[in-house]
Symmetry: none
């Protein structure tokens, strides 16, 4: 009597994954809806049953990526009190999140590019706000550490920016040439170096 009742959510996710994969490989602008359909193993029209437009897919892909990262980091920060341990947990969370999607990390370029261009504060696609949130989280940890006399009295806002930038930049390097160094190794060095420069002797 009733037709096949699909799990709409799971199919949507499948399409989202397929799209993200193709976006990462070819770039958003060079990705055709038919490419996504092909990758997802469905018809072109079917995509529109789940997403309003190509832009909407891109946007949701971004959201998904960010939410994943957020929840992963939040889980790690949970219950940790010590600022140094907290900072390490944050960095580890970030790196793990990145590692999880290393094969489709090329899309981050498009996230950034789009984020930079959509300047309007109220834009739904506001990467600036996302980074601001990261920055505030880290700044709070740093402030705490400085108050407790564990960290040097640095400019915590700039330090937070430097940390995030450094991680992004390293990922960028790694994306460009994955044979250059082992990502985990380099990030370990980075983490040690940043923490080392921060800690009071």
């Amino acid at each position: 009597m009733s037709p096949r009742k699909l799990d709409k959510t799971s199919k949507k996710k499948e399409i989202l994954f397929a799209a993200t994969k193709v976006f990462a490989m070819k770039g958003v602008a060079n990705t055709k809806m038919s490419d996504i359909a092909l990758e997802a193993g469905i018809g072109k029209g079917t995509i529109y049953e789940y997403f309003q437009s190509k832009d909407a897919i891109f946007y949701e892909s971004f959201r998904f990526f960010m939410e994943q990262t957020d929840s992963l980091i939040a889980n790690r920060l949970d219950k940790i009190q010590n600022p140094k341990a907290k900072l390490e947990a944050w960095i580890d969370g970030w790196l793990e999140s990145l590692s999880n999607s290393l094969d489709q990390i090329g899309i981050m370029m498009d996230y950034w590019a789009e984020g930079i261009r959509s300047r309007k504060e109220d834009s739904a696609f506001n990467i600036k706000n996302i980074y601001e949130k990261y920055r505030q989280t880290i700044k709070k940890i740093l402030d705490e550490g400085v108050s407790l006399g564990i960290f040097k009295p640095v400019n915590t806002m700039i330090s937070a920016s430097i940390l995030i930038g450094t991680l992004d930049g390293l990922a960028l390097q790694w994306i460009m040439d994955k044979n250059l160094f082992r990502f985990i190794e380099a990030s370990q060095i980075l983490k040690d170096s940043f923490l080392n420069g921060l800690m009071k002797k």
Copy 2:
């Protein structure tokens, strides 16, 4: 020697600047040939007297940017012997180059994105090779410093990558929110911190 030739070159450069400006503002994919023509104050068809295609403009824009940076850095490195001073000169050169084009830095996102995607080693547009050159230059300086006992015995390849990545990442942060910190101030901190971590006590 002929004035014709000179005119041709300078007009080409004008178009290139116009294109780079529009690329930076709107992104390469969203930039129309007519946008470039408008910005350059010429006719749409005229562009094709100087460039083969839109891709060619993008490519030459990238080359120009890189050559500028290269020559600026080369000038600073010239005649400096001391590894530490050399490294500082390299970083300063990079930062100055970046500062020169801060207003059109948005295009770097497209450079990176395109560079990441054109993986073929023989691609004319091989950003990987460009970065490899940077890396080698820095690695050589680091190796020298390590040999002379000035720098700690670090993995110089990874350290070079980290330096470049860090600088790129910081620029990325700054691009996203220019009001966040003064670029020069942050880069100074970065430079000090990197050098400090590197130097033997």
Copy 3:
């Protein structure tokens, strides 16, 4: 006799009514099958259990409209002998039929448009034939009246066309601005005027 059969017929009619309503509001070209399904309170696929295609619905909608008008007029003409009374009955029948569906009269535009375009004589959708039938009916009445010396000796073919055209045209005016005049009032004037011009003094 089987209840199944009855159900099927009545459901088909429901769909037909729903479709006609939506057609009238949005125009045939702008009406989606899903709009019809929604209006009829059934699933999109179900429509195809009762109709072959969207075109078939449109065609049957037209047929239904015309058959209704036909039977209404036929009922009124029945048993009337006097040509003048017959003509009045025809006009009244036409007007009553129109009045019955004033709220969905917008679809007549599409009937006409489609009718005009499907020129092929053998087309199932031949509005020309429908009008030809009307014309013949009226012509016959007029011929009768002329023979009997009741009507002036007019060109009965053209007069019939004028009568039908006038009625359609008035409806058209009324459709465009329903607040302009009371439809019944205007049609009464029209009827009087036409009959008056026709009658021998």
Copy 4:
């Protein structure tokens, strides 16, 4: 030095005529941009150099048709004082305008249909207002005639509506079957009959 400088206006008009012709034959909804291009003997993309969209073509086609009719009628009314002569001139103008475009009159169905559906008073495409203008012009003539005692004391608003509707309706009949009667002959009858019914004895 300078490229071919086309007369933009005349080419636009060519496209408009081609479009109107195809619209009339196939209906607006069934007309593809490529059909228009084919008819106009140009490329599909060229149309967009002169019109924003398909809708814009339809709209301008309508405007052109109406402006033509308006100016034709205005020319004829000019300098005529007598109400009866004025009315005759108006009708003749309308008929001449219609005759001029009898071959592409099918598009009127779409004009009407669209006009009926776009109800918003402020819509640029407001056929209701066009007809209102016609109605007012005729009403004024009728009022004048009634004041002067030339016309019977009819409801001039309804009479104006009936006149316009009658003309439209007759055209409709004629469009449906062009072999049925000679348009000019029928319209002459109509004109005589309307005027005859109106004049005081």
